[in-house]
C-alpha cells in the first residue's frame, strides 16, 4: 500500500509513433527532459511531505520523507514513489487525519510542463 505517481505518455499512440520516426537526437532530448521533470517532481514531493506530523504506520521501516524514490522506465515514462505505508495515509488522510497530499499536486504541476516541453522539442524543424 505505497504511493506513486507517474508521467506516462507512452500510450499516446500518435505521439509515440511520431517520436519513433524522429532522429535519435530528438528522442534523446526528450529523454533528458523526462529525467529532469521526474527529478523536479521528486524534489517537489520531498519538499512538501510533512515531517513528524500526520498518520504513522508502525510497520514502516523508514520515515516518509526519506523514502521518496524515482525511476525512468521508458522513453516517455517515469515514476516517483514511496514504499512506506504511511505515504498512502498521508496523501489521502484517514478518519482522524485530513489529507495532506504531496504526490498528486506535484504531478498536476509537473505534467503540463513536461507535455509542453515535449511538444516544443517534437515541433522543431528537422
Amino acid at each position: 500500500m505505497s504511493r506513486s505517481v507517474s508521467i506516462d505518455m507512452s500510450e499516446v499512440d500518435q505521439l509515440a509513433k511520431d517520436l519513433a520516426e524522429r532522429p535519435v537526437e530528438v528522442r534523446r532530448e526528450i529523454g533528458k527532459a523526462l529525467t529532469r521533470h521526474v527529478q523536479q517532481m521528486q524534489s517537489r514531493i520531498e519538499a512538501s511531505v510533512p515531517r513528524g506530523v500526520g498518520p504513522v504506520d508502525p510497520r514502516d521501516k523508514v520515515r516518509l520523507f526519506q523514502s521518496i524514490e524515482r525511476n525512468r522506465r521508458r522513453q516517455l515514462s517515469g515514476v516517483v514513489w514511496s514504499n512506506t505505508r504511511a505515504a498512502f495515509f498521508q496523501e489521502h488522510g484517514t478518519s482522524r487525519h485530513a489529507p495532506r497530499p504531496s504526490f498528486g499536486p506535484a504531478l498536476e504541476f509537473q505534467a503540463p510542463l513536461f507535455e509542453a516541453e515535449v511538444a516544443d522539442i517534437a515541433s522543431r524543424p528537422l
Binding site: M1, V56, P58, F88, H92, S95, R96, A98
Partner: protein, 155 residues
C-alpha cells in the same frame, strides 16, 4: 487581481456537503468526523455507523483572455469510512450515485457548477494507523472535480 473563480468557495463546499448528505443515509462531515459515528458501543463486532468526511483539496482557475480567473476547478475528496471493506466501498458508491444525480448546471450563489467529474474511487484499505488493538476501520477515497463559472449578470 482577485482570482474571481476562487472567491466564495465556502458556498460551493457547503452546497456539495448538503447535497450529498441529503441523498445518502449516513452522515457527511465537513473536514472532521461528525458525532456518533464508528463503532457504537464497546463490542468491536457490534454495529458500525459508516460516514464520510468531505475535504477541500485543490483549486485552479481559468477563463477567457479578458477574465482569466473567472472559471474555477475545485477538487474535493470524500474519505469514506466503514467497519469493513465492503461497507467503505458502499459508502463511496452511494456518494458517487449522489454526485451523478445532481442536475447541471447547478446554481450556487453567483456561480454555476457546469460539470462534475469523479476523478477516482480508490480501493478500500484497512486503516493501519489506528493500531491493532482498536476495532478495525476501512477507508475508501472518492476524488471529485467541480468546474464552476460565473452566472452572467443582466445588464
Amino acid at each position: 487581481m482577485t482570482a474571481q473563480g476562487l472567491t466564495r468557495r465556502e458556498q460551493i463546499t457547503e452546497a456539495l456537503q448538503e447535497a450529498v448528505a441529503a441523498a445518502v443515509e449516513f452522515p457527511i462531515g465537513a473536514g472532521v468526523s461528525p458525532p456518533n459515528v464508528g463503532h457504537l458501543g464497546d463490542d468491536p463486532l457490534g454495529p458500525f455507523q459508516p460516514w464520510a468526511n468531505l475535504h477541500s483539496i485543490a483549486s485552479a482557475t481559468d477563463g477567457p483572455i479578458d477574465r482569466p480567473t473567472d472559471d474555477s476547478e475545485l477538487v474535493y475528496q470524500f474519505t469514506c469510512v466503514g467497519g469493513g471493506q465492503l461497507q467503505a466501498e458502499w459508502v463511496a458508491s452511494e456518494i458517487a450515485d449522489a454526485l451523478d444525480a445532481i442536475s447541471l448546471p447547478w446554481q450556487i450563489g453567483a456561480r454555476a457548477v457546469v460539470h462534475i467529474d469523479i476523478d477516482s474511487i480508490g480501493p478500500a484499505v484497512r486503516d493501519n494507523t489506528i493500531g491493532q488493538s482498536t476495532p478495525p476501520e476501512f477507508l475508501a477515497y472518492l476524488m471529485v472535480r467541480l468546474f464552476t463559472t460565473p452566472i452572467p449578470t443582466e445588464s
